[in-house]
Amino acid sequence: MAVKKRKLNKFIEKIVEGLLGLSGAITTITVLLIVIFLFREGGRIFDASPVEDGYILVASTNNPVRKLTAEQVKNIFDKKIKLWSELGIKVSSDSIKTKRLNDYDEAELGKDYILFGNKINKWLADNPGGFSAFPAVLSPPQLNGNLVKVPNLNIRTFLGGKEWLPTATPVAQMGILPLILGTLWVSFGAILIAIPLALATSLFMSEIASPRVRNLMKPVIELLAGIPSVVYGFYGLTVIVPGIQAVFNLNEGLTGLAGSIILGIMALPTIITISEDALRTVPRSLKEASLALGATHWQTIRKVILPYSSSGITAGIVLGVGRAIGETMAVLMVTGNSAVIPYTFLKPLRTIPATIAAELGESSYGGLHFRALFALGCILFIITFSINLGFQFIARKRKVN
C-alpha cells in the first residue's frame, strides 16, 4: 500500500515538474507567438494594391499610360501634376483633366448612379487627356479607355514614402517616413532632457546623499515609474501643453516638445535606477586610491567613477530610449498627431505607437490599412527588441569584466 502511494506521489511530482518546466518557457512562447501573429498580418501589406477597394483608374483610349505610382495618382487628383508630359507620357492633349463620381450632381446620375457609365464614357471620348477613378460596378460595358494599375507597396515605398494618408481615396498613401522620423524625433528630445537630470540624480543618490536621504528617494523614483502613462498624458495635456502654448506663443500647444518633456520624465526612473546601480558597483578600493592621492571627490567622480561605470550608464540610457520609443498613450495625448515630417519641436507630429493606437479601431479588419498598422507594429517590435538585446549585451559585458 505504502509503496503504491509513494509511486503515485512520484508520478504526481513528475507531472507537476513537467508543468513547471512548461511555465518556464512561457515567455519564450509568448515572444514567438507575438512574432508569428504580428508578422503574419503585417507581412501581407505587400500583397494588395493601395487603390481603394472596388475602384478602378481609367485613362482615355489613346493614352499609352498603363501604370502609375500611388504618389503620382494622388498628385494628379490634387492638381499638383497638370501635364502628362511631366510623367513622361505623350498624349494628344497634354493637359490632364480629372473626373470623379462626386464631380457630378446626384440628380444628374439618376437612381443608383445608373447614368454614370454613359456620362463618363462620353467624357473620356471628349477629353483625350482625361483621367478618372470610379467604382468598377459603375463601369460601362464598353469602356472608352484603358485601366491604369497602381503597383503594390514595396519595402522602399513603405519605409521611404513621405506621406501617410492611409484612408485617402482613390489611392491610399502609405509612406511611414514621417512616423519613423516623428518617433525618433520625440525620443531624441526626451533623452536629451532625461540624461542630464537622470545622471545628476543618480550621482547625487550614490555619491552625495546620506543613506537616509537615499532611502527616501528610492520610493520616489519607484513611484515615478509606477504612474500610469495615461495619467502622464493627462498631466501633459492639462499642464504642459497649455504651458508650451503660453511660453512660445503658439496657436497649438500639442507639439513634439510636449511629447519629449513627458517622455523625458517617464524615462527618468529607468535611467536613474540602472545608472545608480552601475555607480554603486565601483569598487571602494578604486575610489579610496584616488582620494588618497589627493584628488577631490568631484575629481574622483569625473576621472574614476564615471569612466568605470560608463558602460552601465550607457546601458541605462539605451533602455530608456527603448521605453521612450514604445510609449503610446502619453505621446498620443500630447503630440497633436499630424503625420508630417518634423523639422521643429514646436509643431505637432506623430509617432508609430500613437498611429497604431489612434487608427486600428477605425481600420476595417484585414484591409490594407489594418495590415499596414500591423506592419508598423512589426517595425516597432524589431526596433525595441534590438534595443533590448543591445542593453543585455552591454550589461552582460559589464558583468564579465
Binding site: 515538474e17 508543468l19 513547471l20 518546466g21 511555465s23 518556464g24 518557457a25 512561457i26 515567455t27 519564450t28 509568448t30 515572444v31 507575438i34 501573429f37 504580428l38 503574419r40 542630464p196 545628476a200 540624480t201 543618490m205 552625495i208 528617494m217 520610493p219 520616489v220 519607484e222 513611484l223 509606477g226 504612474i227 500610469p228 502613462s229 495615461v230 495619467v231 493627462f234 498631466y235 527618468l268 589627493g294 577631490t296 571627490h297 568631484w298 575629481q299 533602455l319 521605453r323 520609443i325 514604445g326 503610446t328 498613450m329 505607437p353 493606437a357 486600428l360 479601431g361 479588419y365 500591423f374 507594429g377 516597432l380 517590435f381 525595441t384 527588441f385 534595443i387 533590448n388 543585455q392
Partner: protein, 292 residues
C-alpha cells in the same frame, strides 16, 4: 611640492558648485513627482464623492460617476492575475530551483527580459490578433485579461525569482537531508519563506495592470457602456481608457474635466496604495528576518 592654495580653492569651489547642481537637480526630480501628484490630488479631490464612485456616467460622460469603469478594471486585474500569477510563479520556480546556470537558462531569462521591453501597444496588437480574432473571444474581459497577463508576466517572474534567490540555501539542504523530495522542499520550505516577497511582486503588478491602456484598447475596453458585465465574454469600461476618452475624445471635453480629474485621482490612488502596501510588506518582512 606645496599645493598652490589658489588652485586648491578653485578645485573646492568647482566641486561645491557641481555638487550643488546635482542636489538641485535631484530636488527638481522629486519636485516633478510631487507637482504631478499634488496637481492630480488638488483637482481630483473636489470631484471625488460617493456618487462618483458608485454611479454610472451620465450626460455624455460629463456627469455621474465611474462605477462601470472601476468594476471593469477590477475584472481585468482579477482575470489577468488568475492567469498570470500561477504561471509566473511556476516559471520562476522552474528557472531558479530546477535549472542549472547554462545556455538554456540564460536564453529563457533573456526572453523574459526582452518580453518586459516589448511596448504595450504591441501587446495590444498581438492580443487582438490572437485572442480577439484567432481564438474568437471578441472584445471581452477574457481577451483583455490574457493580454494584460502576458504583459505583466515578466514582472511576476522577475520578482518571484529574486525572492526565491534570497532564500538561504541551508534551508533547502536541511529539508533535502531530511528526505524530502525536491518538490516537497519547494512547497513546504522555499515557497513559504519567499512568500511575502512574492506577494510584493503580485501587488506591484496589480498596480501596473490597472493603469495599462494601450494593451486593452483593442482587446476589451469600451468607449461607453453604462452596465456591468454578465460574463467574461463581455466588453467593459476601464479606468485608464475612461480617462483617455474623457480627456481627449469625448463629445464635451471641457465639461468632462471634473470627471477626468476624479478618474486620474482614483488611478493614482490605486498605484500609490499598491506601492505603499508592497513597501510595507517588504519592510515588515526584512525586519522579521533580521530579528531571527
Amino acid at each position: 611640492m606645496k599645493a598652490n592654495p589658489k588652485s586648491e580653492r578653485r578645485k573646492k569651489l568647482s566641486q561645491s558648485t557641481v555638487f550643488g547642481l546635482f542636489t538641485a537637480t535631484s530636488i527638481l526630480v522629486v519636485g516633478i513627482l510631487l507637482s504631478i501628484l499634488s496637481y492630480i490630488f488638488y483637482n481630483g479631490i473636489p470631484a471625488l464623492s460617493w456618487t462618483f464612485l458608485t454611479d454610472i456616467p451620465r450626460d455624455n460622460m460629463t456627469k455621474g460617476g465611474i462605477y462601470p469603469a472601476i468594476v471593469g478594471t477590477l475584472c481585468l486585474v482579477l482575470g489577468s492575475m488568475i492567469f498570470a500569477f500561477p504561471i509566473g510563479v511556476a516559471s520562476a520556480i522552474f528557472l531558479n530551483e530546477y535549472l542549472q546556470e547554462n545556455f538554456f537558462k540564460r536564453f529563457l531569462r533573456l526572453m523574459t527580459d526582452n518580453l518586459a521591453g516589448v511596448p504595450s501597444i504591441v501587446f495590444g496588437l498581438f492580443g487582438m490578433a490572437l485572442f480577439v480574432n484567432q481564438l474568437g473571444f471578441g472584445d471581452s474581459i477574457i481577451a483583455g485579461s490574457f493580454t494584460l497577463g502576458l504583459l505583466v508576466l515578466p514582472v511576476i517572474i522577475r520578482t518571484t525569482e529574486e525572492s526565491l534567490k534570497a532564500v538561504d540555501d541551508t534551508y533547502r539542504i536541511a529539508s533535502l537531508a531530511l528526505g524530502a523530495s525536491k518538490l516537497q522542499t519547494i512547497r513546504k520550505v522555499t515557497l513559504p519563506i519567499a512568500f511575502p516577497n512574492i506577494i510584493t511582486g503580485l501587488i506591484l503588478s496589480i498596480g501596473r495592470v490597472s493603469g495599462e491602456t494601450a494593451a486593452i484598447l483593442f482587446t476589451v475596453a469600451a468607449y461607453f457602456l453604462p452596465k456591468l458585465p454578465n460574463s467574461m465574454y463581455d466588453q467593459v469600461m476601464a479606468l485608464p481608457y475612461h480617462l483617455y476618452v474623457v480627456s481627449t475624445s469625448g463629445t464635451d471635453i471641457e465639461g468632462g474635466r471634473a470627471v477626468a480629474n476624479g478618474t486620474a485621482l482614483v488611478l493614482i490612488l490605486i498605484v500609490l496604495f499598491s506601492n505603499l502596501l508592497a513597501g510595507f510588506i517588504r519592510k515588515q518582512y526584512t525586519r522579521k528576518n533580521r530579528s531571527k
